[in-house]
Symmetry: C2
DNA sequence: ACGAAAAATGGGAACGTTCCCATTCTCGTG
DNA sequence: CACGAGAATGGGAACGTTCCCATTTTTCGT
């Protein structure tokens, strides 16, 4: 009872007894209501808590108040540097607002997504950042269940009117096409992963097609899963090996595509620049491959922070109409688009 | 009370009432004791739970049983692909054993580490994976407080006898030196980040120095913070621009170093291969820069899983002596070490 | 110096579980 | 046919908080 070592940490009640005050006062001290306590009491509590090594139990706190202090984040692919960068932003913002982030990785698997969503719901997360393709049904379930704020990252879900944060895809495609045209490329190949379940992929693809018509550029698109390397090789060969009137360039829809396409071009022995190459998403190595790869960088940290802001705002006003926040990309010109 | 939509999800008690059974039975159904229930009761509970959309509240469960179902992980730098890969392994293993992973990123900041550690403790995590430099005092505090299993990733802490999982650093350095020697490089520069607070950096550095003596190789070491680019440039210039009798090569202590050094070499216009380059840690782009960069790949996923295994074992037997698990690297030879 | 308002404090009842103990029911067995 | 073992079930007390209210103390204006 006195100074014996205990297995767990001290409880609020023990601190209260030790300090000779009520548990309510201790609760207030560690809650946000220190101002309601006299200085003397604050000191006594502080002393006792210190001596006993007391740490409030977030779990117990979450139970009564319904405040888990947790924000959940569902990421389709944790190994994607873009996702990690955004996650970093989300985490910073979480900390700044006293939340903790619980990240789940679905490996692009709908079953895992469902499972993880249920898990996050069972931890009563107070907000949810979603960066996955597909199945909003489950998301809705979790949402309805807990009535927790939700924000979509980089992809909208048709049948779910939710807040969303991401790149201004139209602007990105426009910037890319402008740059490529200005650099003298006349025939373009747009390579994307399958757009079916990811709205941002759809938007970029669509915009590419629209602008092609409008600008009178020659171009084509190609959507395929990146694990099918031979298919990608064939697609690229089909485009590059055809006789043409104007210099050719490949535009990559995201970082993963850029990686895969660059591998193929290298294997073929194409010279970057002569064959244009440009990608959305900036990566560590883009400046180091050949003459450097031109990219459109996304403001990843800002996107992450904006996601958290959106969560907080919706927490404050649940019935505000859904809003989309779009960020502008930054063009980083390099040798791969210099002839 | 009847079929009205509710704001949160149903509670165990509501399910019990709906099914006309006691809460204990429902608790048993969702716990691990289904076998103790009659088939009839199982069906009734299942039906009610389904209809009400019941999901057990992990927070409440954690309170009474002390089982948070959470594993904590502290990562020094979430943007390091190596850390992410290991984290991926840890997460998989967590899921396989019914735990969830809570990842905190410290951005190499001791204050954040302390803060996050306190946080994880307050969530009563049942295990802790540590991948940070420095301050074990805090870690010990959390450990002692909760008596939770602990495993160190990639770095041991001198004053803390804990389980640890990581690369076999000696073997890695040996493999690197063997390879470089066999390829005909005679003068070596070993570049590392400051080793003070990370044991694996120390081990690699030490081993490099030892083997240099033993093998009669010419070589030197250089430790600096990577954000100081000019210093790195100077160090590399000092090494490469000096007249010599044998081909020179740079060995990088980890992926971040490889990135920084490669940038410098490219800026200088050195030809990879003529100037040897080799790094520990395999990265996406290592095959694509110049003639490719030779690396020693770590089995990241396996390391992650092993960390989790270690946690579970220690959970089962708290007083087993600390154990270290060391993994072998895989050499991936590329053009940067071909003359 | 007298209330009355404001500030400081405390006592319990939740929150949604689990878990220890009863209690009831079902049989096989002597 | 009574008896106890074992299975199936239920009642209540925790777990460590927060929060509503009640109570006590202080501070002032007049």
């Amino acid at each position: 009872m006195t100074a014996t070592t205990r297995r767990g940490s001290a409880t609020l009640l023990e601190v209260a007894r030790d300090a000779g005050v009520s548990k309510t006062s201790v609760s207030r001290y560690f809650g946000d209501e220190r101002s309601r306590l006299s200085t003397a009491m604050q000191q006594r509590i502080a002393a006792s808590a210190e001596r006993l090594g007391y740490r409030p139990n977030r779990i117990a706190r979450g139970l009564k108040g319904g405040q888990s202090g947790l924000i959940g984040m569902l990421v389709a692919d944790i190994r994607n540097p873009f996702s990690v960068a955004v996650m970093h932003g989300v985490e910073q913002a979480c900390r700044a607002h006293g939340f903790s982030l619980m990240v789940c990785n679905t490996d692009n698997d709908a079953d895992q997504a469902r499972e993880h969503l249920a898990l996050l719901a069972s931890y009563r997360v107070e907000g949810l950042v979603l960066n996955v393709a597909g199945h909003p049904g489950e998301a809705l379930a979790a949402l309805a269940e807990r009535n927790a704020p939700l924000v979509l990252l980089d992809r909208a879900l048709d049948d779910l009117a939710a807040d969303m944060v991401g790149l201004d895809n139209d602007q990105a495609i426009d910037a890319a096409l402008d740059h490529l045209r200005r650099q003298g490329y006349g025939e373009l190949l747009y390579v994307s992963e399958p757009p079916e379940r990811a709205s941002s992929r759809q938007q970029r693809l669509e915009r590419f097609r629209e602008r092609l018509d409008a600008d009178g550029l020659q171009g084509e698109t190609c959507c395929l899963a990146l694990d099918d390397a031979p298919a990608l090789e064939r697609a690229i060969a089909g485009f590059l090996d055809r006789p043409s009137h104007a210099p050719k360039a490949v535009l990559c829809a995201n970082g993963n595509v850029t990686l895969a396409v660059t591998r193929v071009l290298q294997a073929r022995g194409d010279t970057l620049g002569t064959t244009g190459l440009m990608g959305i998403d900036e990566l560590d190595w883009c400046g180091m491959v050949g003459p450097g790869i031109t990219t459109l960088a996304q403001p990843t940290e800002a996107i992450g922070r904006a996601a958290m802001d959106s969560l907080l705002e919706r927490q404050a006003d649940a019935r505000r109409p859904p809003r989309q926040v779009r960020f502008s990309p930054t063009l980083i010109p390099r040798g791969s688009t210099r002839r």
